[in-house]
Amino acid sequence: MSVADIQVEEHLAHDDHGDHHEQSFISKYIFSTDHKTIAKQFLITGIIWAIIGGALSVIFRLQLGFPEMQLEWLRPILGKWITEGGKLDSEFYLALVTMHGTIMVFFVLTAGLSGTFSNFLIPLQIGARDMASGFMNMLSYWFFFLSSVIMFVSLFLETGPAGGGWTVYPPLSALPQAIAGSGAGMTLWLVSMVFFIASTLLGGINYITTVINMRTEGLSFSRLPLTIWAFFITAVIGLLSFPVLVAAALLLVFDRSFGTSFYLSEIYINGEALPNVGGSPILYQHLFWFLGHPEVYIVILPALGITSEIISTNSRKPIFGYRAMIGSILAIAFLSFIVWAHHMFVTGLNPFLGSIFMFLTLIIAVPSAVKAFNYITTMWKGNIVFTPAMLFSIGLVSFFISGGLTGLFLGNSAVDITLHDTYFVVAHFHLVMGSASFFGLLAGVYHWFPKMFGRMMDERLGYIHFWSTFVGVYLVFFPLHYIGIAGFPRRYYSFTSFDAFSSFADLNSFVSLAAILTFGAQFIFLFNFFFSIYKGRKAPKNPWNSNTLEWTTPELPGHGNWPGAIPKVYRWPYDYSKPGSESDFIPQHIPYSQTPESNLPHEAELAKKEEISQVNESK
């Protein structure tokens, strides 16, 4: 039993003596060390960021879809970024693209997804009273909050926020003379990212420690729900890769402010030859993508974990190939560290290195394919209940397949020569990483909302939300493949300068329209979310008849999660529709000795041992 456990139990015992002390508002809701409250803080901050990030994309989609449109009506918000002719400023366009990427990748899909569900589910699903270190967990949120504030402030700078693309490649990001966004905006970007990384590391260390040390009795790694496996491995990936981004950012800070030449060499700009020689912009790209590629999996693995849980529960079937699923998570995690240079095939990388990275990159498709096949087989011969969470999970699998397959084009260095940095790439990662993870996040919210707030979300609004978002996402991102095959470059303010890109004006308008409607549909979710927190139907203890431990807690678990002793675990989390069993689910805390009718031969052995140990205990 760990130290935290003992402390909480003492605390509970303390309560029993009737000396109950109310927590103050500040320690309960603001500087809280309770993992559930911290999860909600991450979730709500993530939702706010998602609205901002989405709104930014709507603004630049207006420019792309309707280049002739008068945007004068945006002046109250955007001020001088609307030119005198009533158009969007072309430099601010780049800032919008940059901030949209940064916000969505880091603030929504990393902090919003891992921060919410790792925090919420790890203690609940492994049977712990809280995280290993509640204080570090609190710090993790507040570092994230600080980082958010700094990034938010950068949006309002006179020179605009960072504008060199979310990857902020130097020299563009190092030289304020090259683009206005590389001035104060870029400084704030770097500072914000350093705090963000500190937050991620504090969280990650906590998740790893908690999963390793604080699992309840009987919960071996081979009985761990796939959600926990995914969060655990995600934290490990983050812990190994995020520090490299700090290194990259730090060298960039030196180049920007202290005259070093890590990334700068032989530059002549604005009528001036800079003194820097000997640096390499490619070095930055290597460092950045050493984080950047694992980051993709940091974003998608938790979503896949959540999906595994939801698909299994709602198909009323065990997840197909539990061990293969764990194996593929491990394989993806390992491979994610040795594929980064596939982002750099046409940067002037040594072609031999390109060959190696093509080989490694395409290998990663194998474990990904296994995961997709296993999801589909899990649904085969199921008895499927379409809750909104289930629909979002099915949507995730669909996006994961559609977007994953286009990875086979981009990972192939010869084919990538043409497709690199075109809209094909935009379509690819928005489906496989953006939309798929986003659907994982939404699925998770719909599924665990009852445990978070003790109330149910409205189902019908959930369906409307799902259908408008699912159809909308496909209508936004599928057409981009065609635009990409035609060679349209990404991060272009307008395509009118080139004859080669004179087509597709209609398709671009269509995409923009779909994007606006899809964004609008998210307000249905927002209404449903906030309305249900206060006015939703009261949730039962286990609304989805699910097996994992969090559903054994009270309707609205309090501090310490279980009012009594922590339940023991006797079986894996996927005993759905077991032959012989009356009920179509057997929760993890039910001993085999209580289910003799459904035990498999090797489980009958375990049941005997259980009985013996119970007898011993009672003696």
Partner: protein, 360 residues
């Protein structure tokens, strides 16, 4: 006034939606929806999933095979492009097949195995044989893709043929500059510290090879001959991208890069092929480089080899056009520079007397 009416209308619509939501919720409570074991509209959702799949696949094929007669492929005009295009379409066939089949299974199973009262799901935790198969088959297919892609990659990125036309392409905010080697077909050195308003490329005139270099206003290419682009950037990273040649290589400050290829169609031929009399090959910047990134364009003209040679021979050296820069040539090479750049020849013609160069 109009604003006020709009705001009022929006509020009314929202209020209306809210009341519909409340009424529907109350009806649900009366009907006892929450006591149902599965969502009331379970069957509807299953049906919608299949409808979505059928419409989606129909739309995919309809658009992909030209249903709206929008052409999403760019005509091809390079030798290696034939190989990469073939790879692209092979990959498309394989992934397209997998895409359709898996989506059919995903949505089909959703419909077929939707909840039915009294049904029990089939307890099927694993099947090792099945899992080995679907690990091995993708691995094999990928191996084929990797090997064919790797061969193409090695050919494309390998050293350029000896006789390739060497042309320098330099990116800067926000245009391109190209430089040819001149009569000696050798590009002279450059030094970024020598860049000024006139000498945009920073040609270094202490190198003999630079005297006859010339800088035209378009990128001219010979059809059917290998061309080696030596690529560099002056300020930030740019990317030399040409969709018709299936060509892309970043231009990096401080790190010269290269790309070689063989153009296969002249600009004239492309004008006939595309039916567009104004067709021009364009050099595109494809790496975010600042405010003017989206307009960083340069024209390319592909000529028949003979036309190209003729054009090439007719070009004046940059040094001849900017004779002030003769001052940058070291003393002992000045005479040579005058001859190599063609300044001497002009003098001879104009003064009508023969000069025997003493430097040779």
């Amino acid at each position: 006034m109009l604003d006020f009416i709009i705001v009022l209308a929006v509020i009314l619509v929202l209020a209306l939606l809210l009341s519909i939501f409340r009424v529907a919720t109350l009806v649900g409570i009366v009907k006892g929806d929450s006591k149902q074991k599965v969502p009331v509209s379970n069957k509807l959702q299953a049906t919608l999933l299949v409808v979505f799949m059928v419409l989606g696949i129909f739309g995919f094929f309809y658009y992909s095979f030209g249903g709206l007669s929008e052409d999403y492929t760019q005509p091809l005009a390079s030798e290696h492009g034939v190989v990469t295009d073939r790879l692209f379409w092979i990959t498309m066939a394989i992934t397209g097949f997998v895409f359709i089949v898996t989506q059919i299974f995903l949505f089909g199973f959703s419909y077929k195995y939707q909840y039915k009262e009294g049904n029990k799901a089939y307890f099927y935790p694993h099947n090792n044989k099945l899992e080995y198969i679907w690990t091995a088959v993708p691995a094999l297919v990928l191996a084929v893709l990797i090997i064919s892609g790797w061969q193409a990659w090695v050919d494309i990125t390998g050293p350029a043929p000896e006789d390739a036309e060497v042309i320098e392409v330099m990116g800067y905010q926000y245009s391109w500059a190209v430089r040819y080697g001149g009569a000696d077909k050798k590009l002279g050195d450059y030094d970024y510290r020598k860049i000024d308003v006139v000498n945009q490329s920073g040609i270094d005139f202490s190198d003999k090879a630079s005297f006859d270099d010339f800088i035209p206003t378009k990128l001219y290419l010979p059809k059917g001959r290998p061309v080696l682009l030596q690529i560099r950037a002056r300020d930030v990273i740019h990317s030399v991208y040409q969709p018709h040649f299936r060509l892309q290589m970043n231009a990096v400050p401080g790190m010269p890069t290269r790309f070689w290829f063989v153009p296969t169609k002249t600009t004239q031929e492309m004008r006939t092929e595309t039916g567009n009399p104004d067709f021009n090959y364009e050099l595109v910047c494809n790496k975010i480089c600042g405010k003017g990134h989206f307009a960083m364009k340069y024209l390319i003209e592909v000529l028949e080899p003979e036309e190209y040679d003729e054009w090439y021979a007719s070009q004046d050296a940059w040094l001849k056009q900017n004779s002030d820069y003769l001052a940058q040539v070291p003393e002992e090479l000045q005479e040579m520079a005058r001859i190599a750049s063609g300044m001497e020849a002009e003098q001879i013609e104009s003064e009508g007397k023969s000069v025997v160069s003493s430097t040779y």
